[in-house]
């Protein structure tokens, strides 16, 4: 019997009402009296020297207030990078300056050069046409391997080369890994590309800067997943604004998927210009701008090798990856191909020896950073592709080869050879579940039916593990993070008993306002509507690190539990006083405090009222009021896992791939709101299937983004996707956070691309086409070429 409220209930989302009635408050919906409009003039070449910028004609035009260039930002810092990687030789990565507006050179199409601020957006756009910019175009470096050639054009003249870092992990294991390969009974090797993607949340980025001269305070309204991170980076490193004079507000945000984590130039520009002009400054990205200014994702070129012994046990993994950084280092860019990728290379398996080499490369392209999954999809894709190839080479069932190498339930906690310790899991359980739900054994009959219709049917499996609940601060500090990754929560109980929870997590589609309220309601025994969740405003919420890496419930939710526990402890003291009982005898159930073994009780509201009207109150022992704050720093990552099964039909005449069935079996530990979890997985699957079959950010040799609009970048549409069967009944609760939760936001995007590609290759090989691999997106042209080569 499903619960009807609290933890485990599919409570309806409270945020939906405002979104469904047009009453959402997205950043572009905010207009401030007297606001001006900013239009960014961006480079239309990938690489060039700026000879001159003449703004005189534009500044003389009607409605134009000022045209800004880099000269206006001489005193400002560059946009900082939040993570430093140390290379194989112990040296720090190469870290170029990332100016707000281009200084002397442009380094990618979309690099901002100048900004027109005008009374209207139309005036700003018109005037932009009159800004004369003389650029000498330079050769662009686009291909990562060519960028590392001797004599290659350098993206940054002041760096020694285009190599940001050459990272080895675990460097000490390298010789042992090589030795294991020398002794292997079988080695499977695979070269692959993890295609470059654009996150494309439906809401484009927006920034509004506002400055209050009377108290010297700045406010930035921005489409951010983590307003405190923006406040810290922009205030401390870029504009030198003390944190107490800078408020950052991220109101309703229309999706992020990683792309709204980072501090962007437009945020710093609008904040800075608001003071210069003493007027609010608003910038709203067009979609065309978003394609060339939002950080992109993925873009890895990898060689992976898998060594097996004579019993088909995995004995070693060796990888070499080229990871594109783009032209500048985005906020978390260096962490993605390293600590969020190398540490996941053990996957769900007992492989004892692993060596990961990553060369991060600067190119004349948009910066690359985390996109839903961030490093973990890249790790999973390689691993699940090479295992599938090995199974085909060895003539064994791909499900059984995986199962044979699983970490078994009795092996947890399990320390992998890549520095992480999985706390819990049951990979057989999700594999069994997905094979059952997806009717793995009934595939032959379905394949025969497809064949009768002239189609090639294939089935593909992939397992995944991810590290979520990012992250233990002391650990990530050792790994180069320039931040802590705890989360905050403040629980304010009002006199009449209703509660406001202020969380450092940020909701931009995940439904925190509903889920978080369910947790607090459950702990105290109150109706959910007595609890309000407040987020996204640095002036209201304690310093928090925001939402990414499937961390909100595991870390933010845990902070909220801790703060609520403090509230309950104090409320019990008050209740004990009111009932003249011992504190240890007080029980809280369904919003009533009672004395164990008696019929004495007081209601939640009586206790909260006493806290604020302390006439009869133990003032000598406890303070009035009922408000508590907690900061939660996780002891470990969480490790959601699962097994995904995809079935495709390939049209042999055209190479068109149709996903006809997709089944996901996940283990997220405990689940607060099953409906929301199901929705998160469905959305992740759509993005992963999109990556596998349709999406790709394609640059030509000159650095022009060829797929720079929704007409060219193939976002999945409703009729591109099948019904997705989603199950999360497997449950091994996280052992180290109070809710036993693991996180579900990224799983779908991590596990699905290899399942889809494995299915396509299965279809082709069953039909007699000896095809080892097709790079994503597995387009009709690529499939047709593979079948006909």
């Amino acid at each position: 019997m499903p619960k009807d409220s609290g933890i485990g209930a599919s409570s309806k989302r409270r945020e939906d009402v405002r979104f469904l009635t047009g009453n959402g408050n997205y950043t572009d919906d905010i207009n401030i009296n007297g606001q001006t409009y900013a239009h960014f003039i961006r480079s239309d070449v990938a690489h060039g020297t700026i000879n001159s910028i003449n703004t005189a004609a534009a500044e003389a035009m009607d409605g134009v207030i000022k045209v800004f260039t880099a000269a206006d930002f001489a005193a400002a810092g560059g946009i900082p990078c939040g993570w430093q990687i140390t290379d194989r030789d112990g040296n720090a990565m190469q870290e170029p300056k990332h100016p707000i507006l281009a200084e002397g050179k442009v380094r990618h199409v979309g690099d901002p050069i100048a900004v027109v601020v005008a009374e209207t957006l139309e005036a700003a756009r018109d005037a932009a046409e009159a800004v004369e910019i003389d650029i000498d175009e330079l050769p662009a470096v686009i291909d990562m391997k060519a960028a590392l050639d001797d004599g290659a054009t350098k993206v940054h003249d002041d760096l020694t080369s285009n190599l940001c870092f050459d990272w080895g992990f675990v460097e000490e294991n390298r010789e042992a890994v090589d030795a294991a390969f020398a002794e292997a009974a079988h080695v499977t090797s695979l070269d692959l590309v993890n295609n470059r993607l654009v996150a494309n949340p439906m809401e484009p980025r927006v920034a509004i800067g506002d400055y209050n001269r009377s108290d010297d305070e700045y406010t930035l309204y921005t489409t951010s997943q983590n307003p405190h991170v923006i406040r810290l980076l922009m205030g401390a490193f870029v504009l030198s604004i003390p944190e107490h004079k800078l408020r950052v507000v991220a109101p309703d945000v229309g999706g992020g998927f990683g792309s709204k984590i980072y501090h962007y130039a437009e945020e710093a520009f609008c904040t800075f210009a608001a003071k210069v002009l003493n007027r609010p400054v608003k910038w709203t990205s067009t979609r065309a701008e978003a394609f060339v200014s939002d950080a992109h994702g993925r873009d890895h070129v990898t060689k992976i090798e898998l060594a097996l012994d004579a019993d088909n046990k995995f004995t070693a993994i060796r990888t070499e990856t080229y990871a594109n950084m783009g032209a500048y280092l985005s906020t978390f860019a260096p962490a993605i191909p390293t600590w969020l990728h190398g540490t996941l290379m053990a996957g769900n398996y007992t492989t004892p020896l692993i060596y990961v080499n990553v060369k991060a490369v600067f190119t004349n392209t948009v910066p690359v950073d985390a996109y839903r999954g961030a490093g973990r999809p890249e790790a999973t894709f390689q691993l699940e592709r090479v295992i599938d190839k090995a199974a085909r080479e060895l003539g064994v069932d791909p499900a059984e080869l995986r199962r044979q190498n699983f970490i078994k339930p009795d092996q947890f906690p399990y320390a992998t050879p890549v520095a992480v310790e999985y706390d819990t899991g049951d990979y057989d359980a999700t594999l069994d579940k997905v094979l059952e739900l997806g009717d793995y054994n009934g595939f032959a009959a379905r394949a025969a039916e497809s064949a009768a219709n002239g189609k090639l049917r294939g089935i593909g499996l992939a397992n995944y593990i991810e590290a979520c609940g990012i992250a233990p601060s002391n650990l990530v500090g050792q790994l180069g993070a320039r931040a802590g990754l705890y989360e905050s929560a403040k629980v304010r109980v009002n006199a009449t008993g209703s509660i406001s929870v202020f969380t450092g997590s940020h909701s931009h589609g995940q439904g925190h306002e509903t889920t978080f309220a369910q947790v607090v309601a459950d702990m105290i025994g109150l109706p959910e509507d007595q609890i309000d969740i407040v987020h996204g405003d640095t002036s209201k919420v304690p310093m928090g690190m925001g939402t990414y890496g499937s961390r909100s419930l595991a870390v933010g939710g845990s902070a909220m539990v801790r703060a609520t526990e403090k509230i309950i402890n104090k409320a019990k003291k008050i209740a004990a006083h009111l009932m003249e009982a011992a504190e240890d005898d007080i029980e809280l159930k369904d919003g009533q405090f009672s004395v164990a073994g008696t019929d004495k009780s007081v209601a939640w509201g009586d206790v909260t009222l006493a806290a604020y009207v302390p006439h009869n109150y133990p003032l000598e022992d406890i303070e009035p009021g009922l408000e508590e704050t907690a900061f939660y720093d996780p002891a470990n990552f969480t490790y959601p896992s699962g097994s995904y099964l995809c079935e495709v039909e390939v049209d042999p005449d055209t190479g068109t791939v149709d996903v006809v069935a997709f089944t996901a079996a996940d283990d997220f530990g405990n689940v607060i709101n099953p409906m929301i979890v199901e929705g998160q997985v469905q959305g992740g699957l759509a993005q992963g299937i999109g990556q596998a079959l349709r999406e790709s950010a394609v640059y030509d040799d000159n650095g022009q983004l060829l797929s720079g609009s929704f007409m060219d970048y193939a976002m999945p549409r409703a009729d591109d996707l099948p019904n997705l069967v989603v199950d999360h009944s497997s449950c091994t609760p996280c052992t180290h956070n109070p809710l036993g939760v693991k996180g579900c936001g990224e799983a779908g995007a991590i596990g699905s691309p290899p399942a889809v590609v494995n299915a396509v290759l299965d279809a082709l090989n069953r039909a007699g086409h000896k095809v080892d691999h097709i790079d994503m997106p597995v387009s009709p042209a690529r499939v047709w070429a593979a079948m006909n080569s």
Partner: protein, 162 residues
């Protein structure tokens, strides 16, 4: 600049607009009705869908001046008279047919147009009809379920909210 007058959600309204002002811009900036969203600049995403004289229109593809005198319905006009959620809106909430909410106004308006022409669409017909509306969050499945439910049809395999 000229004053453009039209009927929006049953009320006659006027605002200044240039010849190049789009209907989406007129609604959002001229009238301050920010329920209609703009998610692209190539008329692909469908977040801006409204009804003009009963037809579903991407309001970013129409000049405000072209809609002068027209009857326009936006997402703000889709609730019941008492302010409660309309049938389609309620189905979207019941079936978790939205996450970030940004594409939602267009989805609701497209769904309304579909159900007007085809009161009992099949799942395939719904998916086909939504070709002009992009959602990045949901994978569309719960949007399809919501529209099935709003049409009074059974929703196979749905976990409806409590």
């Amino acid at each position: 600049m000229a004053t453009i007058t039209m009927t929006v959600n049953g009320s006659e309204v006027s605002a200044e607009a240039e010849g190049r002002t789009l209907l989406s811009q007129y609604l959002r900036e001229g009238l301050g009705m920010t329920g209609t969203h703009v998610g692209c600049d190539t008329s692909q995403c469908g977040a801006c869908v409204v009804h003009v004289n009963g037809q579903a229109v991407k309001s970013c593809t129409m000049f405000a001046a072209e809609a002068a005198g027209a009857e326009v319905t936006t997402v703000e006009g889709m609730a019941n008279a008492d302010g409660s959620l309309g049938v389609i809106q309620q189905a979207f909430q019941d079936h978790h047919g939205l996450q970030c909410g940004f594409c939602t106004p267009g989805m609701v308006m497209s769904a309304a147009a579909l159900l007007k022409d085809n009161p009992k669409p099949t799942e395939a017909e719904i998916r086909d009809y939504l070709e002009g509306n992009i959602c990045r969050c949901t994978g569309y499945q719960n949007i399809v379920r919501a529209i099935m439910a709003a049409s009074g049809q059974e929703v196979p395999g749905a976990i409806a909210a409590e």
